[in-house]
Subunit: 417 residues, 2 copies
């Protein structure tokens, strides 16, 4: 069987499974999630053994320490995988929710019903926990899923997948609700993103993976490429709030997509804000790269070049630009931002409203750290990623982002005139 034929088989099986999921109760889905958690707990040693094999192979191939760290499973990480399953079981089921059911003048009732998307393809890199997280979110939202993990974690994924299969079986669900592509052949990705049974693709990983998949996919993709987030300090900013929000936005964690990468400061903002921040950042070991005006104010800064404004550092580096007014700040964000998250610090309510309306990003904030851009902080319970697209879903993608709404009409023999 060719790789394309294999994916066709998986696609057909997923379609059948997704049809069976249309009439499955919340209780049955939760039973499966808890059974998978139980199975993982019981198979701890097998999973760790499989993971050790992956780690050994990765070391022999001289893969980077960062990749091996992402690949690694230990007792603590397995505990966290189990905990995440239990939490997803507790989340409210989005499927079947009927909203806005109203009588129309004709006498029919019209409303919207939340329904699964159908079949999802998840393409990810080395983190084995995605195997479980993605499966759990898809299952809870009644979607069938085809998983394609990185070749480095194939043994770990297979061990975890066995637990998923056992969990599905013990809850009397079609085992094809979750399928794992069991080949490391790259053609599998090409076939998956053009399979007619796949309703959407979610790539989870670095920019290279995500942009390659977006380019080639014939199926809608839920994705974010970059997190080049901005904090803008207005001339009417409160000093303490500005310092807190800008410092936290950059330094809370460096390697995350919601970290502030560029600080924009109004030229008339209280001087002590930037003075305080430069000291705090420097003490924290953050390298500062300033525009010409910033360099004149602070001697210890490096010069920022045009690349800096469009770079997601994911590191203790911050670019700083002094702007003449809010419109210049918004124009900078429009030109260099990635549509992820931007925050304004201001006490002026009209300025805040203006920023909310004009900034076209998946999260727009007032007086809050960009670090809050996260499904958990927003109350989604769990997220499968953050979408910087405008179509279908924007920002952190939870269970609702994996669903659609269809119209339902209820009459009593009504005909249209």
């Amino acid at each position: 069987m060719s790789v394309k034929e294999l994916i066709d088989v998986l696609g057909n099986q997923a379609k059948t499974a997704s049809m069976s999921l249309r009439n499955v109760s919340t209780e049955q889905k939760n039973r499966a999630l808890l059974a998978i958690a139980q199975n993982i707990g019981d198979s701890r040693n097998d999973i760790l053994k499989a993971n050790q094999l992956d780690v050994k192979n990765a070391q022999e191939k001289n893969l980077s320490d960062a990749l091996i760290d992402r690949l690694l499973l230990n007792e603590e990480r397995i505990d966290s995988i189990i905990q995440s399953l239990n939490q997803i079981a507790l989340l409210e089921d989005p499927v079947g929710e009927i909203t806005d059911l109203k009588y129309r003048p004709s006498g029919i009732q019209v409303g919207k019903m939340r329904v699964p998307l159908g079949v999802l393809g998840i393409i990810y890199e080395s983190r084995p926990n995605v195997t479980i997280d993605a499966s759990a979110l898809c299952l809870k939202s009644s979607n069938a899923v085809i998983l394609r993990g990185g070749s480095e974690s194939i043994n770990s994924n297979q061990a975890l997948y066995k637990c998923i299969q056992n969990g599905l079986k013990s809850a009397d669900l079609d085992v094809n609700c979750v399928q794992l592509v069991d080949t490391t052949d790259r053609d599998a990705v090409t076939s998956l993103v053009s399979n007619e049974n796949v309703d959407a693709i979610i790539p989870r990983g670095g920019k290279g993976l995500v942009s390659a998949i977006s380019e080639s996919s014939r199926v809608p993709v839920i994705k974010h490429l970059d997190g080049i987030c901005h904090t803008y300090i207005d001339d009417e900013a409160d000093i303490k709030k500005a310092v807190d929000v800008a410092f936290n936005g950059k330094t809370r964690r460096y390697g995350v997509c919601n970290a502030t990468e560029t600080l924009l400061v109004h030229q008339n903002a209280p001087k002590s804000i930037l003075e305080n921040l430069v000291k705090l950042y420097t003490d924290e070991g953050v390298e500062l790269r300033g525009c010409e005006k910033a360099l004149k104010l602070f001697s210890g800064m490096n010069a920022a070049n045009d690349d800096d404004w469009s770079t997601e550092y994911l590191a203790p580096i911050l670019s700083i630009k002094i702007v003449e007014n809010i419109d210049q700040a918004i124009a900078h964000i429009e030109k260099y931002g990635s549509g992820h998250t931007e925050s304004i610090v201001t006490e002026n309510i009209s300025t805040g409203r203006y920023f909310l309306n004009l900034v076209d990003s998946s999260s727009v904030m007032i007086n809050a750290s960009t670090g809050f851009a996260d499904g958990g902080e927003y109350g989604l319970g769990a997220e499968i990623g953050i979408s910087t697209d405008k179509f279908h879903v924007r920002g952190p993608v939870g269970l609702e982002g994996l669903t659609s709404q269809k119209y339902i009409v209820i009459g009593d023999g009504h005909i249209r005139g």
Copy 2:
């Protein structure tokens, strides 16, 4: 300037216009809509003259009567265009609506704000009224739009477009909020569907146009291809309701996408239902094409072949299939349907619930004619089309379908721990 360069210029201008639309008031948008209506009223003679030229050209090219009818404008049709503008001005503005703004445990407030998609491309065929309807819906939802009409209606479109420009100017809006592609070169479509500034494409026209655009587009497409709608009469159907709903679903209008094309009947449904219906349909001049079982029951019927089940007749023809149970009906819909609209006639509440859950179409109905699948009947006020996709928007697409939601976060200097 090449066609690609022309589209690039339009794309850039549209992007700039869409940014200006982010901060435009509802009142200003409505002022523009009413001014466009006023302008069309004042330019009635010029529009009719331009349209006569298009009709003359079409006649000289021996284009079909159906096409010429779609192309034709007269006093009555211009009145209806003006009326539609006035109605869209009255619709509630979806943009800026903030929902679910709630305090989170961290102290931040998180909510969702409805925002325009940005730049839309509308590709349509010969109907000149689309020029106005599409522009008005895009403008009301704060989207910039690039229109590409059919070459047959170029003079009519230009005359209408002049009114749009005057209306935008008199409301002090960027005239590039609405742009018309002023060449009939087909490369314009190719460039439009791959322009980086275009956020979504909406094709309006026949199946050939829609599928060609879906195939080639690098931009999300809001579309429906077919309307192969089903009415299913259950064994527990009320006789009168079944006859009314099935007769109206087929015969209300033949050339519309929500017409019933296949009637599915439970083998144990009261015999008088099909007896009555066969008589009514035959009296109405509807050709009936039945499955083997149906042919045994009614001698006057033609035999349906496999093509019949997958054909959108758009004509006084109906295919009829007797099924053993509801699962066979649902399986038939899954196999042959187009995901548009399906209706069940039943008095049994559990059967109705089952049908609602299992049928994966943009509209699913109980005891109501498929003819109700329409933005106006659903209370959307106006529709730009019906989406049979699951992604982003499903069913009749009104103003809300032309928008997205971004997250907004409001704090008071909050930082994340």
